[in-house]
């Protein structure tokens, strides 16, 4: 049985339908890459699953439980965590306080500050620094660590490489591999195809609010993904929608 099952999700920004009739399953231990152009609805989909965005219709089942009506902090308690786009650290709190807020409010488990400092050693010297003063790479490491402090079973990562230097991105992905070899199921939102295809087990591509391609990451060709990304080719008739 899948860990997360989103069924016929619809989500809007005012009159704009950002997510249209999306079905999405994530299995335990899976790493799902969610790709798509700007405005395809990836961020809204993640925020809807995490409970930060209200859905218009549909259902979200997590671990066999209907969580559609639950608020974000209640979903965190069940094991869903989101690393939001733009990192969204508590800028006036120190790195350590950022982590502690999450640790105090989230689930208990193996991830502690010490365990995360082993994964992101660069944060060791920065623990007492206000999060607003960190470099972009350090901020992203803190944001991921903060989400990990809640000991999630499903971690949603939204554009973690956005605005970072290539070297910082390399570092980050190297740490991620260490973090998730035995960790939670992952949904990775990225615009950089090469980056995610290296780590993902499955890939979904979104276009204008819909999932237009879903493949095993090893079987998907770049051509297929690029076509779906830009909507160059229509999908099989079963996936056509009015």
């Amino acid at each position: 049985m899948s860990l997360l099952a989103a069924e016929q999700l619809d989500a809007r920004h005012g009159l704009l339908k950002a997510v249209r009739n999306v079905d999405l399953c994530v299995a335990e231990g899976e790493i799902l890459a969610l790709v798509g152009a700007n405005g395809a609805g990836k961020t809204t989909l993640l925020r809807t699953i995490a409970g930060a965005h209200r859905l218009t219709s549909g259902r979200i089942i997590f671990d066999g439980k209907d969580v559609t009506a639950l608020r974000a902090h209640e979903r965190v308690a069940l094991g869903i965590a989101l690393v939001p786009e733009g990192r969204r650290l508590f800028a006036g709190l120190t790195v350590e306080e950022n982590l502690r807020v999450a640790a105090d409010a989230g689930r208990a488990g193996r991830w502690t500050i010490d365990a995360l400092l082993d994964v992101f050693p660069m944060l060791k010297a920065r623990l007492k620094t206000p999060a607003g003063l960190l470099s972009g790479g350090e901020q992203q490491a803190t944001s991921i660590s903060r989400a990990m402090m809640t000991n999630p079973r499903l971690l949603l990562l939204d554009e973690i490489s956005l605005g970072l230097a290539p070297l910082a991105i390399d570092n980050l992905y190297r740490s991620l591999t260490a973090l998730f070899s035995s960790g939670p199921a992952l949904v990775l939102v990225e615009q950089n195809l090469n980056r995610v295809l290296g780590v993902a087990t499955r890939v979904c591509c979104m276009l204008e609010g819909r999932i237009v391609l879903e493949r095993d990451a090893k079987l998907a060709t770049r051509q297929q993904i690029t076509d779906a990304y830009f909507g160059l080719r229509q999908q099989a008739p079963g996936e056509m929608r009015p």
Binding site: A72, V76, A81, P84, G132, T150
Partner: protein, 306 residues
């Protein structure tokens, strides 16, 4: 010597202003609500204290201890049923909601207790007028020193609470970004309700001390709101240390003003408030202009970090 005396008395008076301002500062800092009913909460609290004292004959201090949890409960309920709903409707609606609350509280108190001016001074015996002699010209009242000490203890205590406790960290995180706080597991509504409970509970303390050193009636709230508001703005919005300093600056300004002329008391306080407000606006506009000369990046970075 007379000026030194005024500075000492002004500092002690500033303790009271800090006391009344701390709840206002907390509420604005955490929920971004400018609570126009703040002064009326203090008066509501002191009427509860007065009622207890009048009915049972206990000391006002004991009555205050009983009223504090009641006021905390009142604040919790208000956040839950009034402020939370109004916050969803945009930044102006909470302002209107608190304005309405102020009118309701004032008139309910008037309905229930009439227009009589009351004081708790007769209930606290010698404390109302006893003083220590510093020099042959300078006396400091026991009550004034007590109020100042309570203000310092309360503000320092709140600051330590926010810095070091689990709930305090959750309050600071929620104050910065309620949505992200939810995403790391913090129940932002519960945190807001707790912050409102604390803020409203402190008004009972301030109101009671006001009633001990002066008088109160159902319409005394708005005047207290103005002093609290001035102390918060002078000290810097959302900072509890700043609120303490702001209260003291306001108190000293008023005392020195009173020494200059009989009408100087309120006038000097307001002038200091306006000067500080103007300076802040001027400095921030200079900042923005300088940032624009440096490029748009400066402004973006600034708005994000603030």
């Amino acid at each position: 010597m007379i000026w030194l005396d005024q500075i000492i008395q002004g500092t002690l008076l500033g303790g009271y202003y800090a006391l009344i301002a701390c709840g206002l500062s907390l509420m604005f800092g955490v929920m971004r609500i400018i609570n126009l009913a703040h002064g009326d909460f203090a008066i509501l609290g002191v009427f509860a204290v007065w009622l207890l004292v009048a009915q049972t004959g206990v000391s006002p201090f004991l009555a205050l201890v009983a009223v504090i949890p009641l006021m905390a409960l009142f604040g919790w309920a208000l956040q839950h049923w009034v402020f939370e709903r109004s916050l969803r409707a945009g930044p102006l609606v909470p302002l209107l909601a608190t304005f309405g609350l102020a009118i309701v509280i004032e008139n309910l108190l008037f309905e229930g207790f009439g227009a009589d001016t009351r004081s708790l001074a007769p209930e606290i015996g010698d404390l109302a007028f006893d003083s220590w002699t510093l020099t042959d010209r300078i006396y400091v009242g026991h009550l004034a020193v007590l109020v100042f000490a309570v203000a310092v203890i309360l503000l320092v205590g709140l600051q330590l609470f926010l810095k070091w406790t689990v709930l305090g960290r959750a309050i600071r995180a929620t104050a910065e970004d309620p949505e992200t706080a939810e995403l790391v597991g913090v129940n932002s509504r519960a945190v807001y309700a707790m912050a409102a409970a604390i803020a409203v509970a402190t008004t009972a303390i301030a109101g009671t001390f006001l009633a001990m050193r002066a008088t109160f009636d159902p319409y005394s709230g708005p005047a207290q709101l103005i002093f609290a508001f001035e102390a918060v703005v002078i000290g810097g919005v959302g900072s509890l240390w700043g609120t303490l300093i702001g209260g003291i600056v306001l108190g000293i300004a008023q005392s020195l003003g009173a020494q200059i002329g009989p009408r100087g008391f309120l006038l000097t306080g307001h002038i200091v408030f306006l000067v500080v407000l103007g300076a802040r606006l001027f400095l921030s506009s200079v900042d923005v202009r300088a940032a624009m000369r440096r490029g748009v990046d400066g402004v973006v970075g600034r708005s994000r970090s603030s």
